[in-house]
Every structure is written in structure tokens, then in C-alpha cells.
Amino acid sequence: MGKRSVIAWSGALVLLLGVAQGSAAAQETDLNFRRADANADGIVDLSDGVRILLALFTGRVGISCRDAADTDDNGRLEVTDATAIFEFLFREGAAPTAPYRVCGADPTPDDLGCEAFDLCPQGPSTPTAREDVVHLLNRAGYGPNRDTIDYVEAIGIAEYIEEQLSPASIDESDNTVLRTRENALFTERLPAKDTVLLPAGSVWHYRKGTSEPPATWKNPGFVPTEPEWQIGVTGIGYGDGDDVTILNDMRGNYLSVYMTTTFEVPDVSAVDRLVLRVNYDDGFAAYLNGTMIVREGISGNPPRYNQTAASHDATGAEDFDVTARKSLLVDGTNTLAIQVHNRDLDSSDLSMIPELVSREILPGDPVRVIKGIDELQQLLHVRGIYSRKQLQAVLGEFWENHFTTDYDKLVEYFGELKNSDANDAMGEAQARAEAAQVEYLEYEFFYENALGNFGDLLLYSATSPSMLVYLDNVLNFKREPNENYSREAYELFAFGVDNRYTQRDIEVLARAFTGWFVCKVDPENALAFPDSARNPPATCGVQFRDTEIVGLGSGWKYFKGTREPTPDATGAPTTAWTQVDYDDSGWLNGATGIGYGDGDDRTVLNDMRNNYVSVYLRREFTLDDPMSVENLIFTAIYDDGIVVYVNGQEIGRSESMDDADGQIPAYDFTSEAHERDEDSFDKNLNGFRRLLNPAPAKNVLAIQVHNTNIGSSDLSILPRLLDREILPGSVENGDPNAVWTFRFEASEHDTGSKVLHQGTPWQISIPSRTGAAGVNDAIQVLDAMANHPSTKEFICIKLIQRFVSDQITLNAFKHSPQSVPIELRELLADSIDAWSDTGGSIDAVMRVILDPQNRESAFWSDLARRSKVKTPIEVVNSSIRVLDGLATGADLPEITDEIGMHFFTRDDPDGWSENGAAFASTNSFLEAFNFQHKLATNAEAAYRFNARQFVSGLSTADDIVDDLISIMFPGAVPEANRQILIDYVSTSTSGTPLPLSSTRSDFTSRVEELVALMLSMPQWRFQ
């Protein structure tokens, strides 16, 4: 073929030239096309002539644009149209008649038509005023709806943008839908103080439910007698790893367990509210002084011993407010009795860990707290759909996603904290509630400061408890810096990937961030930003005083685990050696620490390595009045695993030992290694105080210590028993009234001098700072980063990508700037200027991006319009919003997740892509279509659509379709597509033509199905 036989052309070229052509209102036959491209594939070649011949002679192929096939534009389709193409291609014949080099409409009226020619730009080249409005609402908000379009058309685009840039000026006082929906996501929490009346991990009597116990078992004064009733410590159960007293014979044998214990209440009148806190599996009934107070997952009063319960997993303690029954309490000794039931005999687990709490409501204002993480996720939808502050809602989401953190990691972190009394600081439920509130406060700052100063956003994020935990600054220690946060500060939050920083900068910045931790303070001591960041507290309010009952040193007896100390007849281990009256006179004398290999041992076991893996310890002690010990705490530094007993009762074992139930034989290894400098084993023993004998009678603390393998290089045990007095004013990790805040600990800060961005014009030299001033190391860097050219560039590009076009990214701009359209590069330069002029005002940058006066800007240019694919949250919010749908917010986070996006719980710190095309997958489309069908057909209670009301005043198919198009995507629907919609609503389900009529009973359902189809149109995926 000759050189000009195939003329490749690019859509972009045609677009630019095609726009210049202009054309008035497009009708079906006025579509723009390219002459001689009969098969509309973008190339004029042999196949076009062949297509014409096949169409003329076989009729088996169609031609979608007959005007294009009319090569000589004589108004007739004939063989010469094909031969003219061949002449042109191979014999230097005449070029096809215009429009040939560029797309255009047919200049001569004829009977031929052009139904489709998708490779040419169609429609009017000048956007209508309606298209401008919808474009603006698509970008500066979550899409159009009827009311907002009317509003913008009434006040004008410039005025609307001005309003959006000053959200405080927007009056939402009459926006009851928004207020109602938002308020439903929050609850008011009264400040309260909890006092534990009966702790988890208390001593109970329990009886296996192999038969019905006497009716009096739950009453005060009932005397449980052995062997029917045994003594055990909660949790009681089996199979799920949270049990201390393990019922190895329960599975397959009996369904229930009966438990009873007593507790003291000095003054009933001091009990304000009464809460039964239970971690349970599967069902239970609880009795206070003989009367049932709570029953869950089981029926009957009392339930019979062989009843099954509904299935329920012990995933965390749950609170049951039993204040209404507090009149059952008496001064002095009270009885709590519980029967716990399994769901069936073969159940894999059972758990019961009860706690009884007296709650005092403190003076002070109630706190507005988000109900949970799902409600927080709903808040993004509720604001996005209903708020008039649309730009603020979009930017709130944008910053939240930019400075992304992970709720799940926060829950895990809170869940592992302890109070100074050595009890877990909080249960799972409180950890979830506090993590959700921390995430809410963080998001709310981004929302409130969405148009504020970038430096504030960056500093807030760096010091927010959620970020400090998420990217491990709380694990960033002087001796071992953790680079996680400092790397992402450069890569993701400020500079952008590979944008003028080095690995060395990351390492130095990590050192600058050492000493950055979190803690809780009383609300009245909490500082507001920026003080919270620039003048953080040094210490938390935890205050206590320890008195040693058993300290380190002499007085211990020990036994080398070369054999079982007290085997039974079969050689299996028993707890006889842990009993008070066990004769340990044959044991060796020693002082703690005991062990070898790591230099902390006073009693060195030189023969242990490669010889035996366990050692047994006993220590006698006396206490005048065990119940008067405020907090009885066992604490031990250990390597590698321990099981601890008091007076013959196991009080706990290290994680490295809890893979096995029951007695651990002397020869067992631990399941994992544990070093002496890792977390110590701390256990509150208040629930065991009743096991202790008052002086002069003796008590015995007994410990078995195991190694992780026979050849291990070390073993350690340094145990202590403490009486810990919590001092007034102590603010504990678990205090529900206190709030999480950034804390700077100077002793963990690397005080060395530091240099960053060395050798660049932006070099930062940090002097050696000691004490509280050390916090300024990283703040100095953050302040400088906020106005570094890389940050301006990266953040402005990201904003332009969000609001204007995906044709700009940092990578494209840095590496092939010519690939970025000139309009976008100009907009970037203007945005950066606005940033520089204002020191990082996002408001100033957004004014440049959205400038309504500058009609030549990228935002109003054709390259921006309908060029972005919606992200999942945009799909969900815009679909409900455009229909004036009634959504509570419920279900929407799950739907958005299924379409591909979830906020506050993303694992990766890079946030979701601003390019909606990144979410396109067949599964994502399917989930979106099914959601949109449910929405349009009013199939769910959580999000509703009133079709009849929406189209009121309209009755014909054409009117309804045109009305919807004019709201959803004006100017974007070719006539062929419009016809599909009209046909769709004008046929029955079986496909028979049946005109739409507002008097027919199927009117509503047909409109609903039409709307479902329109929401799943390709055009609705764009904005």
C-alpha cells in the first residue's frame, strides 16, 4: 500500500479541530462523522470499501453512518462510493468529500442518515448553561439534583462558588433532613466513674450442669460444698482461649455450668448505676441475691440445666445496665449467681467472664460521641448527600483520605493497653467506641479546616493519636527509630513519591519524631489545636504507689524440672507442688532472679542449657488483712514462659504457655520465645484476695518457668508481688471520660543535631534540643515541609486531579510534563502561586481552580467536562442525591465497600486513588448496578426513592427521559441512547411495546426500572 493508504489519526487532534467546527443543535441525522470511514473505526482503508459492498450486496452487515459511506456526498449509497475509496487509496484518486480530514456534520441535506459515529465528538461545541451548572455540581459536590440546579441557576455560578468557598456562611438551620440524619449517628455520653464491685478473674464456686441443682443454689446463704461444687477463677469455660478455669470434659457431656460467688458492698446508697459486664458464650442467666437480673440467649426462669442457648460468641465484654435492680443490693455481703449454657453439646467453646460495676455519673456536660465506626462512615455519606456545604463535604473526604488512618489498628492498640492496676484498660466494646471517636475527631478537624491552611492539616495529622498509632510513631524509640511515619510524611502526605527527598532525610526525620507518643488526659486539661501539637503534655496523669509484698531477693525455693515435681500415679503433672502445705524442704534455696544466660540472675542455673527446660519456684508470704490490699498485683520479667499459682490456684499464664490447657508437664517447651526486655507479665489479683490467709497463716506464690527449647541461650524469672495504691487524680488508659492526646516524652527523644535536605536551598539544620523543646525538632521540619516546593506541587496536583482532570499526576508532571495538557500546567502554576502568596491557604488554591470568571481555565474547558470516572463514594452519593432519595446512611458504607472503597479502615497508607477508573472492575460495576437497582426500585428501607413524586407533572416517555437527562447528564446522551431509554420505558417486561401511561398501574414500576437503567448508564459513571 502507498504511503497515504492508511491515515491514522488521533482522537485528540480531531477533537481540537472538531470543536472549532461548531454546530447547532444536533439531530439524529446531524451527527458529526468522517467521510469514507464506513465502518467507523477511525481509519479509511480497504475495509471501508468492502463494508459498503457487503452492505449493498449481501445486506448481512449494517452501516451505522450512511452519510459517512456516501463517499462522494451525492445523497445515494452505491457501488461507486466503494470504488471511490479504492481509487483514492491505490490510484491517487480524489479524496473523499468533506467532512473528511476532520469530523463534521453533513454539509448537504440528503436522505441518508448517521445513527452513530462514536469516534467523532458529537453535540454542540459550546456547553449550555445547564451543562456548566451540572459540571460544577459534579466536581464541587457529589453531583446534581433538581433543587441545587434550580438554586445555582437562580443565584448564578459565581455566587454559588463564592458560597461554597465560605461554608460558614451557608445556612443549614432549616435543613432538617441533614440535622436529623447527622444527629442519629451520635449519642450523648455522660461523664461517669466506674468502681468495680466484683472484678473479672474472681474466684467462684462452680458446678457442672449434669443435673438440676437445688432451687436454692442461687440464693444468698447457699453453701456450695465439694465435690459437687468446685472452686475456679473466671473466665470459666473451654475452647476459645479466654478461660482460666478450663472445663475439659464439658464438650459432649453437659450443656450448662452453675456459678456463685459473693462480693462486698460497704454502702448501697453510694451505688448510682449498676452494670453487669459480661463476656459470654453462648447464653446465660444472672441472679443478684437470688433474683434474676439478666437473661440472654435462653428462656425460662430459671432455665433448666439441659436447655440449649442461642449461639453467641465471646468477642468482648458487653454491658447490661441493671440499675433498675439495684434495690436488690444489701450493705455487706451480696451473692451473684450465674448459669451459663452452651448452644449444643458439641459446641467448640463456652465462656463466662462476669464483672459487676458501680457507675457514678459525674457532674459535667454530656459529650457528643459518634456511635461507632459504621456511623462515622455514614457521616461521609449523609453530609455528601444532604449538606448544602457540598464543597466542604468533598474536601472533608479528600483530606480524610489523604491523611488516611486505620480504625482497626487503633482498636487493637487500645485493646492491648493496661491500666496501672494491671487490669486491661478496656474491653473490646470500649476500644471500638474510643477508636471510632478518635477517628471522628480527626475527620471533623479535616472537615472543619477543609479550606484552611495546609500546614495546619499536616501538623494536626502528625500529632493526631490515630496517626501516631497507625504509622507507628508510638513505636519510634531513641534506640531503635521506626521510619514508618517519616517515610510516608514525605512520600504520601507532603512531598509526593521521589520528589526531592532522600532515604537519609527519612532516617533523620524518624529520629526527629522520637518521643512522640499518646496518652489520656482529663477533658479539662486537653489542649486545643495548635497548642495540643506545639505544647504537648510530657506525662500522663497515671499516679500510683507500690508496696512490695514479695520483692526480688532471697526466700525462694526452687526445683529443677529434670522430672515432674509432683506426678500422679501415671506420671502426669499435678498441682500438688503449688499447695500451701506442700513440703518443699527438699527443694533448693535461691534468690530471684533465677535463670541463666542474660546477666540478670542472682541464682544461676549453669546446668540448665541442653539438660532441662523448666524450673519450679515457691515463695511463702504473709499478709495481715488480704482484703485491705487495694490492688494485689503480680508482676514478672520472664524468659520464655510462666504459669503462676497462689495457694494452689492458677492465677494466669503467659501467652507463650497458653497454647496448651491444663497442667504443663516439666518437659514442655513454650510455644514462642519471649525475651526479658519485652512486656512483663502483669496480673491484678484482687479477685484472688479471698483465697489468701490472714497472718499468721501462710500463703504460697508458686511459679513454673519454661524455656522455648532445650538449647536456648537464656532463661529468666524476676517475680514480684505488690500492693498498689492508685493515687487520687490518676488518669488511666481505660478512663472513659478522659480523651486521647499527643504526648511528648523527652527521655525517649534523640537529642542529637540533625540536618535534612542537605545541600539544597531548603536545607534544615536542627540544633541539639533537650527536654520539652525536643518536640520542636519534628515540628520545625513539618512547618518547613508545608511550604516546600515539593509539597506545593504535590498537593496542588492532587487537588487539580480531584477537581479537574486525571490527565495530571505528579509522576506525569515530573517525568513527561509535555504529556500534561497545557491548560492543566497553567492551572498548576496559578495554584502554586496562590499557595505561595498565602502560605498554603487551601481556600486560595480552590479559588484559582474553580475561578468562575476565567472561562479559559482548565476547569471550564472541554478537557475537564465529563472526563473523570466517579469513585465508589461518588457513585453512591450522587445516585441517591440526584433522585432526592431518602437515605438514613445505614448500609451505605457496606455498599461503597463492595463497589471498592472504605474509609477509616484502609490498610495501606496511600489512601484511595482520586482516579475513579482505578476502581473499574466487572465486580465493582455489578455491585454498583445492583445497588442502583435496589435504590431506584425502592427495595430497601435504608435508602428510598419516590418515583411518582419525582416525575410528577410528567407523563410521556419522552418527557420523563428528557427531564432525567437534563438533571443527570445534560448534553452527554446521544440520540441513539435516548431512544433506547424511551423504548425501555415504553415496553412491558416481556419486551412488548406498551406506551407508558401515568394512569396505568405499572407506571411507577416502569419509571423505577427506567431510573435503574439510567443510573447504570455509562454516562452516569462519568462526571
Partner: protein, 453 residues
């Protein structure tokens, strides 16, 4: 690489018993000249371990004296508790015991043999990135150094060797979002649960909703969803191909997947038991689709490998993940015996982890890592982890911190493409851009390990 961009229209008709529909089969993909169409029988399952697997505790270089308790105080696994791999050097994490069934047996005939599991150590690439985002991208796009190349290496393998107009379900990801490895101009389906991979509503509603394709590509005479997605597209605007083609690929793949679902509940064969949890469920879906559809390549993810803190020694986070993978391999091995000779199951992960344990009882991002390959044609054994190639101290051969790679991951996949699928080696430059010149520059990185020889 794109040989011909012209559209062809192919009148076709896929009958979907599941939907009770007659769908016109859209020619949604630009027809390529397939250089060398395979016979369609060879299959591959790839498993991406997201987060970076600690290769040193997965396949332990016992012969390296640096594998010790001072470098790995809480992670060190003693020799007595490790699984010996028989070469006097390498040992396997004890929780991976289930995978030994493949290592020790070439078929379910009870005969011990060289086995069908190749364990490849020290796999990586030059210019290793320690960013999750970049390095996952590189393993998936096959072009390290180009983080913004969103086209997948395995996608290109599919596009170059399988006619996607003939086989509308040649490849898929068991994932809600598409994996980069399978991303490209033509949409490869992604799905979570086959039974839910369908439109809601009655059959007649779905039939009307789907409608029909136009009689000519991008023509205006279609109906319903297919008419809209198969109809005219706005010119000069970005992402039109992506969005419209994805809509069409959804309709196509849905009819094939629903035909498979309609065959009834799936029962694994040969005593295969898939591990609990979502990973096991995904693998069971993989097996079902492998048996009931024409799919040739399936990808799945397993997350959680970023063990910076509390990695755990034998039991714990890392051990649980390894057990999940090993049980998954064993289940696929048993369940897919009928196609074992046609199958390769391969793992990917963006990097290994630091040879020295960190201060948080875990390990940080590092360089080379371990790849497992199983299949009927696989010559079992340990590669790149033996006394001849691994000198003591090699655990710190890269920057005194990491294990240095010995083989480029692209060579591993090149071997799979050419030796397993039988692809023409000349195609490699299209599938793995720059392959032949890279192989010339760094012959040792690209020498085949010959685990398929």
C-alpha cells in the same frame, strides 16, 4: 505490541442456561493477531502474598550461621522443630507441613518421589523498591522502575496468547477489585463469589435490563444495558474504553460464571479440605471455576504479610499465614488432580524481610524473597538455597542487611510462560518488556532455574 486495532464484528450467540438468555456475544475486545494461540489446556493459579513475606523464616537457610538467636531473638526456629528439605541446607517453617505432601509425592499414589513442589529462594529484581505500593506494582506489571505502568504482566501473557473473543473467560481475579497483574486495556473479569455474580430481579426483568447489543459495533440499535455499553461512545474523552468495555465484560463473564454455578453445589475431590477463612473460600472458588469454565489463569490475594510487629515464631501471625498457604496448596493439589499435569500454582510477594529482627518482634521491608511453584510438570526441590550457592553470611549479602537476589522474578515467569504454557520465547519481549536485552545484560539473574525442565 498492538498489532491491529480494527474492530471486527463477529456474530455469535452464547446461550446461558443460567440466565435463560440469549445474549449476543459482543466483540468487546480489539482483535489482536494472536502470535501463537495455545491449546487452551495449560492453566495457572497465582497467589499474591500482599505485604512482603519473610522468606528467611519461611525457607530457613539453616546452613547459614547467621540464622541464629542473636539476629532473630524471638523469631529463630530451632533445627529440631523445622522441616528438613533434604538438601542438607534448607529447612521449612514447621507450619508449612501440609505442603510437604506435594514436595514428597509426585501424584496421589503414595509413592515418595522428587515431588511437584519447587521452592525458589532469593527471587527479586535489580533496583529493589522497599515500598509496598511500588514493589507490588513491579511484580505485577513486570516493569520494575515504572510504578505508574498499570498494565499487568500476566494480562499481557493472556492478551498475547489467548484470543479473548474466542474465550470470554480466559482469565479472572477472585477479588472485588482487579489485580494489577491482570489489568490492561481489555477488561479481565474480577469477581468475589460466583453465586452472587449476577443481576438481581426476575429472569424477565434481567432479560429486559440486559437487552441486546447493537447490530454493528458502537451502533445505535441495541437495547437495554448491552445497547448502551455496546453503543456509541463520546469521542475524545478519557476512560471511555475502560468503562464501556468493563460493562460488556461483566455481561459476558456473568453468563459463563452463572452456567458454572448452575451445575450445583461444589464438592472438592480426593479428600481436599480447603483452609477456613476467606483465603480458603477463594481457593475453593478457583478450583470450581477451573473445572467448570474455560478459565486458564486465575489470581487470588492473601494479605497480612507485613509483619513489622509480633510476627511470631512458630505459632503466631506469620505461622498462621504460612499454614493457610500450605493447606491451600495441599487442597488444590488434591482437588485438581484431574488437571494436575496442566497446572502451575505459583506465589508472588513484593519483597522479603530484614534478616535481622527489629525492635518490635517483627521484621521490616527487605529485598529478595521466596516463591513456591507446584504443578504436574514441576521438578520438585529447593533452588537457590543450598550449600553450593549460599555461603554462610549470605543472609546479609545485600547492604549488610538483606538477602540478595539470585534470580529475577521475571525469569521465573518467563520459564512458566515458555516451558509450561509453551509460549514462543520470542513473545517474551511483548509480555515482559525489554526481556531479551535485560537477559543479555544480567545473564545470571535471568538464567532459568529449570524447575520445569
Amino acid at each position: 505490541m498492538i498489532l491491529n486495532r480494527r474492530d471486527f464484528f463477529k456474530a455469535g450467540c452464547v446461550t446461558s442456561a443460567a440466565l435463560g438468555l440469549n445474549l449476543f456475544s459482543p466483540t468487546i475486545f480489539k482483535r489482536r493477531l494472536i502470535a501463537q494461540p495455545g491449546d487452551g489446556k495449560k492453566k495457572m493459579i497465582f497467589i499474591f502474598q500482599r505485604g512482603g513475606n519473610d522468606g528467611v523464616n519461611t525457607v530457613i537457610p539453616r546452613g547459614d550461621a547467621q540464622y541464629n538467636t542473636s539476629n532473630r531473638p524471638t523469631l529463630f526456629i530451632p533445627e529440631a522443630q523445622s522441616i528438613d528439605l533434604g538438601n542438607g541446607f534448607a529447612q521449612l517453617h514447621p507450619m508449612m507441613d501440609p505442603i510437604m505432601e506435594i514436595y514428597n509425592n509426585s501424584a496421589l499414589n503414595g509413592v515418595d518421589g522428587p515431588g511437584n513442589l519447587a521452592i525458589l529462594h532469593r527471587i527479586g529484581y535489580s533496583g529493589q523498591s522497599q515500598s509496598h505500593f511500588d514493589s507490588q506494582q513491579y511484580w505485577e506489571n513486570g516493569t520494575p522502575g515504572q510504578p505508574y505502568n498499570g498494565e499487568g504482566m500476566i494480562y499481557r501473557k493472556v492478551a498475547e496468547t489467548i484470543d479473548l473473543n474466542e474465550n470470554r473467560f480466559a482469565a479472572a481475579a477472585i477479588s472485588g477489585s482487579q489485580m494489577v497483574a491482570l489489568s490492561g486495556p481489555e477488561p479481565i473479569p474480577a469477581l468475589r463469589d460466583p453465586s452472587k455474580y449476577t443481576f438481581r430481579g426476575s429472569a424477565s426483568r434481567v432479560r429486559k435490563y440486559l437487552g441486546r447489543l447493537p447490530s454493528t459495533p458502537r451502533g445505535g440499535d441495541g437495547r437495554g444495558l448491552l445497547g448502551l455499553y455496546g453503543g456509541p461512545r463520546e469521542a475524545g474523552k478519557p476512560f471511555r474504553g475502560k468503562v464501556y468495555d468493563t460493562g460488556l465484560a461483566l455481561a459476558d463473564s456473568m453468563s459463563i460464571v452463572q452456567s458454572a454455578v448452575q451445575q450445583g453445589a461444589y464438592t472438592p475431590e480426593n479428600g481436599a479440605v480447603y483452609p477456613g477463612g476467606s483465603f480458603g473460600e477463594k481457593l475453593e472458588t478457583v478450583a470450581m471455576l477451573m473445572k467448570r469454565t474455560p478459565v486458564q489463569i486465575l489470581g487470588v490475594n492473601i494479605g497480612g504479610w507485613d509483619t513489622h510487629t509480633r510476627q511470631g515464631q512458630i505459632y503466631g501471625n506469620h505461622g498462621n499465614l504460612l499454614q493457610n498457604v500450605a493447606e491451600g496448596y495441599r487442597a488444590l493439589y488434591r482437588d485438581l488432580q484431574s488437571m494436575w499435569d496442566e497446572l502451575v500454582i505459583v506465589t508472588m510477594t513484593e519483597f522479603g524481610r530484614t534478616s535481622k529482627e527489629n525492635g518490635s518482634l517483627g521484621t521490616d521491608h527487605a529485598y529478595a524473597c521466596v516463591v513456591f511453584v507446584a504443578g504436574g510438570g514441576v521438578k520438585g526441590g529447593v533452588y537457590n538455597c543450598d550449600a553450593t550457592t549460599w555461603r554462610s553470611g549470605d543472609m546479609f549479602s545485600e547492604r549488610d542487611r538483606y538477602v540478595r537476589r539470585r534470580t529475577d522474578f521475571r525469569a521465573v515467569f518467563a520459564e512458566i510462560f515458555t516451558q509450561h504454557f509453551g509460549d514462543d520465547p520470542a513473545l517474551l519481549d511483548s509480555i515482559i518488556p525489554g526481556y531479551s536485552s535485560l537477559a543479555r545484560q544480567r545473564p545470571s539473574d535471568y538464567r532459568y532455574l529449570n524447575f520445569l525442565a
